[in-house]
Subunit: 211 residues, 2 copies
């Protein structure tokens, strides 16, 4: 089984690495990082590059597709290389998945029409504009499409799908191996839980605050 | 302020990317990935490479040092380039931190003698053999040394230290931006919580199961 994790300029690194570290531990699977061209691809902060070992064109039919998000601008050109590849790869994939605003890319490719899906909480309205039915859930499965909420939700998505494919005990082993027993020092991980003034601040000034 | 995240052959990617995505959002900080030589460095699975933008020798005095772990063999040579660099960098650092078995590297460099520290649950005894005082806590601060438990604990460590340096509200904003509201599909993230037969399995066959 082949897992293709898609990289593009200014992706968010944890979006990609969360599923890599969990779902990627699927027995017998080979994970390959892909991008329009093979080589290093810079993440949103500019201070980290992950290597795409293969070009999109060289990985035409992965079993599982994983699309991370990013703070934008996303490569949303309808006939651009990424969305074209997503449509082709999705035609034969067993699972097509995303983390964060990666779901906007799936939706812009026309793959989430009328499907329940999720995204980063700041992007749910845009997901609706692309024809999906956004939910506020952390991991959403609709048919073969599995979408996760923002950034860190890719870990939960990866474990969820891993359990679905390889069985609960294998997913538990990977959870134990990655010591995923989260103990956040604050309780501010969703707009429902964070102080309202911080939610407003992020809604209006995300770019300024985080980069 | 400069944050140096250390890479070496067969490191665990999430160990590095968790702190990068949280602590790295420290206002005004520049994060740099470093390794013995600049260039791509392969993680433990072999299917992912992160780019070290600078060589260790070119980053002699970062303010914050972050050392990820890996399933081994770790570069523990006492006079090897990594441990020598760690001792030098630590002499002027404000914070010296680790994730997972990264604490074994700090300890082998002689930096955790008689200090409270943590590591991956499978490595706590080895941490003691290196002269540290292991605890089962997820994030341990002793003076300027901040160590985290296995793999995913680097996210909690990153947020904890971010709050300490930049204030609670900034850490909450980063938690909200990364939507770190964990909802693991299983409750098996520590040896106390996971089924005993899975703990035993991982204790005896970690290498076989996970790679």
């Amino acid at each position: 089984m082949q897992i293709a994790i898609v990289l593009y300029d200014r992706f968010t690194a944890l979006d990609a690495v969360g599923p890599y570290e969990t779902l990627g531990r699927l027995p017998g699977a080979r994970t390959v990082f892909v991008a329009e061209e093979a080589g290093p691809v810079r993440s949103d902060t500019g201070s980290l590059a992950l290597t795409a070992d293969r070009a999109l064109a060289d990985v035409p039919s992965p079993d599982i597709v994983v699309v991370p998000g990013g703070p934008g601008p996303l490569p949303l050109a309808p006939d651009g290389p990424l969305l074209s590849w997503l449509r082709t790869a999705d035609a034969t994939s067993t699972w097509t998945t995303s983390v964060c605003t990666g779901s906007l890319l799936l939706a812009a490719a026309g793959l989430l029409r009328d499907r329940r899906a999720t995204s980063h909480w700041l992007a749910l309205e845009e997901l609706a504009r692309h024809g999906a039915e956004p939910t506020g859930e952390r991991v959403v499965t609709d048919g073969k499409y599995v979408t996760a909420a923002g950034v860190s939700a890719g870990i939960d998505m990866g474990l969820t799908l891993l359990g679905r494919i390889a069985g609960d005990d294998h997913a538990r082993i990977v959870q134990l191996a990655t010591e995923y027993d989260p103990q956040p020092p604050y309780d501010a991980g969703s707009p429902e839980k964070a102080p309202a003034h911080l939610v407003d601040l992020l809604r209006t000034h995300a770019g300024l605050i985080l980069t």
